[in-house]
Symmetry: D2
């Protein structure tokens, strides 16, 4: 433990023998003194900063910061101190225990690659999510969920039952206390209402290098256009379809000999890579919103 | 020399002591027997195939082939034999000496990176082009051309003189017997007429990953959209702006901290890479047109 | 069906109403006339070449060819005709039905990522292998095999039982008529004898960008050396450890902030990508041996 | 201007009407309070942090920080305050004006690609170096230097004159007040003495993906081994040849059809990319030494 016994931390240290590794993400209007104030608050509480990144966007005039800090202090003390600071700097902030698994619902239709990939990475690679449910408008992937021991919910969607289905989804999100919803190739368009309700908490993987080939059948479009690279885009979902803030993109090289189905197969690799990174960064509080752009402290 | 003395080649062999390395590119409606017929013709003339690629496009029903062959035969004999074959198979074909430098005009405005790059690669990396002129609507890059000893032609373009300027360009292309025109960041839109006249002989580098961000200021558009990769596209120019057949594309990773001018600087690397590859492949007869797509035998 | 009724194929066509898509891979000393002879043989049998690639290696003096052909002929006729040709040109050749699934044994220890990946790609992405067994010196991955319905064989290995274990493996390979053995992160070194017996039929994934970091704990070595990219190499196994012919390599960017365990997690993505490609290309007869190098007709 | 009138900065603000954009890089033994102390010092002087990155290496126990700050203070005041802090934390630090061009000597032999590239990027892409001399053991590239208006020094090296040549180089470095020496494909091995004298100030580009293919003719080695990717490595030069701390690496995909000379040509692109990035990051004080590894705050 590397805390220092200063007057300001003695109370905390007395109460909490164990050091916690915290992660704090924040944004506020840019002005001098923010870093000093944050570092000061953390030093007051006996914290040791292990990782920190900042960015000031000259266009939006906003300042962004993510800091990991080891401290033997309670969440209450931290929350209290941060609330005061947030007031002063008009700050939006999130405090979490570093490495805590974010409660996540995966939504799928029939394509299995992203589901498999996220479940596997959660189990084996330390993807910091706790997958509390797989929700699908089909039943095809129930056995995959079962293999990983994740509850599977079949919520069918027809034109007539869409509102009902979304209500059921929201209910699940609330019941399960889910913080994040990942559309892992879920082939239904969400209503504007739902997008707004879960704003900043839904990540989608679009099987194209946005903003190319928005809309339906992007690989067919890409094939027809004769592109030499195909891509995928992980983004937050907003009401404006395929236009939400981009979190991550990746590409794969293709050539003339590839048929549409080859592009689909090759694309799956890009999709799962881009989606897994986006989910990891979101769960680690590395992604901050700057209007319709993202700041990603990788 | 690895020719074989067969009756069919004896005449050719007698006349031409030296072996030439030929490259033959062709396309025709797909049907059985094409490869056999081409290989047979070349064997007849004592040729040794050193490299060969084929592709049949099930969508267009066209067959494409590129073959390099060492043969001690004359162009006349080859042309004659190929004309007969072309008749039979409704073939479009090109025969060239492998490695011959294609006579090329570079067109530029004020951005120097692609010009520098192509001139340098021609001089030092064996890019198989003979750059016979640099044409520009500005004078800023005259000294670069001079350094490499290439004639520089200033052809200013205003709204009123555009037709005149294009006529001058065509005149230059004819006088210099240029086979290829490369728009190496030439910031003028060519008329439909010129595009048609030089169809399949003009390559452009577009500073975006087409079909994203067509039109003006693509890096500003990319920045505004918050993309995580920027790209460039080398394509043939057609009347339909930024929609010509794509030859090559490449990308570079960027993040939130990059300003528009950073994207521009990073993009220059992608642009020159993609353009240089496209020019090389075209000059080596590796690019064949399949409707509005390209077959690239890399 | 696009066969042509020529005298040479009439018998075959009569017997075999259905067209088969064949893939033929061959190598032989380079000399004129090979392509013509092969194309001629295929044309004789009424075949239509749909894909073909050739390469002549000036260093080894060997010629390599892979051709896919649609033909309504029997295997017997093809085998017979190819045997004659092979005699004439001192040819090594393989004839297979295109897309046939190669019977494959996967060997694993405790790391699950490559196993999961290959099983998933076999099931969902058309990886053309028929996985007939998972063999492991541990039991940790038995449930993964069970999920995909693949027989799992636990063959423990100790210093004393190594010979016995390898005998059991060979027995399995024979009983199951396996054509390919994939070491999907199998952490035992095979004996020279076994390597020789299965020469050209064992593919390994090495968790490094060979020839860097041969031997044990490559990610720890890479971390210690401070490299900025980590890689993986899929290669044929020979007696000379980590020195077999390379089939495929790939890399991922890393930075100073990554710990050894992060490199391991990031590396898993590269490993499974490189291995899956190598297995696909091998199963499609796209990989030919040229001494200790490979020709890969992608 | 975004300074804040605090008692501590009033003197500075009075004296210096203009804000300067500073970059501060530092490393020291890790312990709590460093960020707070640095941020406090900068806030005291009225500074506004615009960019900041930190990293604590658990292995070496060292802490690294790079911060860009706008402040209307004099270098003297900053130096003074930092000296006090450095004493307290046993800190190594560098303070510079952000964007100042680092005085740089380029050393070359006969290969022109890296020289061209660096000169071009300096002129056109804002590479923040001031190239004060090109030094070569050959005369082949004198005209390239001349084109860019850079003094060219021919310092021939033979076995007998090596010590003399190095003395001449050191003399030039001192006369020209050069801060950085870039070996842009300089094909002479520097003596241990020279490496020590200029420790941390010489960057080399090695035409291989280190630690593969150390030593001579790496592309020939890579070709012989049949690798599927070729790479380049930019690193600091130490007495231990090709073993200095790695700054940047990159790769390019190759296949069996590429001859050694093709690898060389393809490799040039990777070399110039990797070297240009390394030079930029060094000149921007983004590279800090952590034993024989580098911390790169990109």
């Amino acid at each position: 433990m590397r805390t220092v016994a200063t007057p300001g931390t003695s109370a905390a240290t007395r109460e909490h023998g164990e050091t916690t590794h915290w992660v704090l993400s924040l944004s506020c209007p840019d002005r001098p003194g923010i870093v000093h104030a944050v570092a000061g608050l953390l030093a007051e509480l006996g914290g040791n900063i292990t990782e920190s990144q900042q960015f000031g966007d000259p266009l939006s005039g906003l300042f962004f910061m993510r800091v990991q800090v080891e401290a033997a202090t309670s969440r209450e003390l931290l929350d209290e101190a941060l609330a005061v600071l947030a007031e002063e700097f008009s700050m939006t902030w999130t405090l979490d225990v570093a490495g805590r698994r974010m409660r996540t619902v995966l939504m799928v239709s029939t394509a299995a690659h992203c589901l498999h990939d996220l479940l596997f990475r959660q189990q084996s690679e330390g993807l910091p999510v706790d997958i509390v449910a797989v929700v699908s408008n089909h039943t095809a992937l129930a056995d995959v969920a079962a293999f990983y021991g994740i509850p599977f919910h079949h919520v069918p969607v027809t034109r007539d039952t869409k509102a009902e289905a979304e209500a059921r989804l929201l209910e699940l999100v609330e019941e399960l206390d889910a913080e994040l919803v990942v559309l892992a190739r879920y082939m239904q368009i969400l209503s504007d209402d739902l997008c707004r309700t879960l704003a900043g908490r839904i990540i989608n993987i679009h099987h194209s290098f946005l903003p190319s080939f928005k809309g339906a059948r992007p690989y067919a479009q890409a094939h027809d256009r004769g592109v030499k690279l195909i891509g995928a885009t992980a983004h937050y979902v907003t009401g404006d379809l395929d236009e939400g803030p981009i979190i991550e993109q990746d590409v794969e090289r293709v050539d003339h000999s590839k048929k549409v189905e080859d592009l689909v197969a090759l694309g799956q690799d890009v999709e799962r890579r881009a989606l897994a990174r986006a989910v990891r960064w979101h769960a680690e509080h590395r992604v901050l919103l700057d209007g319709h752009r993202t700041i990603v402290f990788r």
